[in-house]
């Protein structure tokens, strides 16, 4: 019979794998995990927190720029998209990054409807990832609190 720790560890492993398989995360996230150790156990959590704050800020900038009906500065929107693409790439947020590619194209071709659509999608996507990673970190905490080690998951 599986102990609580073993059960939690299995949950953690399965959930992690599903996040990769569903395309939420890519191997940059794996690199981040490698950069974490027992002396800096919160590095990944801290970095993604910064990322989500960055998302909020940039999306707000884009929304404001797109709100200037008839006078939209597509270069400004594009610049924010570029920044979002960069930071999503740095944390392994694969779906967000993919959306940014499409979004950038809409900016470059000054496609207003396309931009508005992309903005909505990016907003939904980063929030979705935020919730999922929160669940993942909660699982980690539960494992540690139960006295177990967080397993290394090979994708």
């Amino acid at each position: 019979m599986d102990t609580l720790i073993a059960q939690l560890q299995k949950q953690f492993r399965d959930y992690t794998i599903s996040l990769y398989h569903q395309g939420f995360l890519d191997d940059q996230f794996t690199e981040l995990k490698k950069m974490q150790d027992e002396f800096s156990p919160d590095f990944v959590a801290e970095l993604v927190t910064l990322f989500f704050e960055d998302c909020e800020k940039l999306i707000s900038n884009m929304a404001r720029a797109l709100d200037q009906t008839g006078n939209v500065d597509f270069k400004l929107v594009g610049s924010s998209v570029h920044q979002l693409k960069g930071s999503s790439s740095s944390v392994g947020a694969k779906r967000v990054k993919g959306l940014c590619v499409v979004f950038k194209e809409c900016c470059d071709s000054q496609n207003y409807e396309g931009c508005v659509r992309c903005l909505q999608q990016v907003d939904v996507e980063y929030k979705s990832l935020k919730a999922k990673l929160q669940d993942l970190f909660n699982l980690e905490q539960q494992i540690v609190q139960a006295g177990g080690r967080i397993p290394q998951v090979d994708i």
Binding site: E31, L32, K34, M35, F43, D54, H82, Q83, K85, V91
Partner: protein, 184 residues
């Protein structure tokens, strides 16, 4: 018989190395993205580097004392072994920062690495032509930093060895001339 001064021992001083401290590379990282700053700082720390991170090229120049402002801290105290800068930054770009550093007599020898999320060949060429040590695609990997570190350490070791060899040469020549004079 004339006295010959033989060196007691060859003094090999570690201070001829310009490393911040033995084995520790001091890197100045420049990036306007808060996410990327935290990322590169951690990357460099786990790669056994001492790190200073700034958020703009202007601040990098200020740190180096190249901003034209009156700088009381001598740059000799600032042992930077490597500068890593993002290419696309508002205000001064990484490319412009690279040029400024290469124009400076104090800092032109410091290797400068450009980081960019865009794989644009003309951009890469331009940076390398301007004297960049390397051009890295973001996100930068642990392996990239390791490779960089290894090649810089090798260059340091080579320079260090050259200094020692030169010192030895001078000392041997000195003994030789003394021996000649003493007609031994």
């Amino acid at each position: 018989m004339a006295e010959v001064m033989l060196p007691e021992k060859l003094e090999i001083s570690n201070d001829t190395s310009s490393l911040a401290s033995p084995e520790l590379l001091h890197v100045l990282a420049v990036d306007d993205s808060i996410v990327d700053r935290k990322f590169i700082e951690r990357l460099l720390r786990v790669s056994s580097c001492k790190v200073t991170v700034v958020d703009s090229a202007t601040r990098a120049l200020q740190y180096l004392g190249l901003d034209g402002e009156n700088n009381t801290v001598g740059f000799e105290d600032l042992k930077i072994n490597l500068i890593m800068t993002d290419y696309s930054m508002p205000g001064m770009t990484g490319y412009e920062l690279l040029k400024k550093i290469k124009e400076s007599s104090a800092f032109r020898e410091i290797p400068v690495v450009i980081m960019s999320s865009e794989n644009i060949l003309p951009r890469i060429d331009r940076c390398l032509e301007e004297g960049a040590e390397d051009f890295l695609l973001k996100p930068v990997k642990l392996a990239d930093v390791k490779r960089l570190r290894d090649s810089l350490m090798k260059a340091e070791e080579k320079a260090f060895n050259n200094i020692i060899m030169h010192k030895r040469e001078l000392e041997v020549n000195d003994v030789y001339s003394q021996l000649k004079r003493a007609k031994i």
